[in-house]
Subunit: 113 residues, 2 copies
DNA sequence: TTAGAACATTCATATATCCTTATGTACCCC
DNA sequence: GGGGTACATAAGGATATATGAATGTTCTAA
């Protein structure tokens, strides 16, 4: 495994690992949207949305297209959606496992002696 | 989409979005390992490895099993490896696209007028 | 029960990230 | 050109994250 690999990999993850940026990607998963639409869909401030879009763009996750007054953003690579969904599955399975573990503890309390 | 969904999702991503933790997951992808083996494989300090393992464990990404003196860690869900690899692919494709874009700029410089 | 190995935790500090406010730039229409 | 809309960027202070050093804990073996 290449020296920089984990660093690059974690950079990509870090880009995706933010609630606001996830909301943006969630909004963009079906179609491209203008910034003002993204602001509407996500409920964040315009400045904040632009900042996150700038980060996503600089990491190659989304691309921008100007059309007159507006700028339309879209996801560059459909695998980003796949990765997003796969992590959703992992998250749900992990949560399910954790609640089973809690059930076990409730039904079979750990003896502290 | 649930209110907390993006928050949970970004929490999971944040857990994965760290170079050291990625190294640990990379070391664990084929088999479980004791902490000392993980320390060897990743080159980080014992305390730091324990700290990151604690984070991974608290988020349900890895699980621990004590055997006498040692504690063996393993990845809880094989989909975590899938997600890891998928993000690798995304990363490589994004990097490839970016270098094409740089080529384009070199071959067809943007006219500043 | 003491020594030592393997691992976990705490604390303090450095660094990075995030968001708000304010300001700047690009485009359209009159 | 002037004004308005859409978007981008900069500066700042608040919050979160990462790391090393020091200290605890758990187990084994003698």
């Amino acid at each position: 495994m290449d020296q920089d690999f984990y660093c690059l990999h974690s950079e990509m993850c870090k880009t995706l690992a933010n609630e606001k940026r996830q909301r943006i990607l969630g909004a963009l998963r079906t179609s491209e949207l203008s910034v003002s639409r993204i602001v509407e869909a996500t409920g964040m401030s315009q400045a904040n949305a632009s900042q996150h879009l700038s980060i996503l763009r600089s990491k190659g996750v989304v691309k921008a297209r100007r059309e007159g007054n507006k700028v339309f953003y879209s996801i560059t690579n459909p695998k980003i959606i796949q990765a997003f969904d796969l992590i959703s599955e992992v998250m749900q399975e992990v949560l399910a496992d954790q609640s089973h573990m809690i059930d076990d503890v409730i039904e079979h309390p750990i003896d502290p002696t």
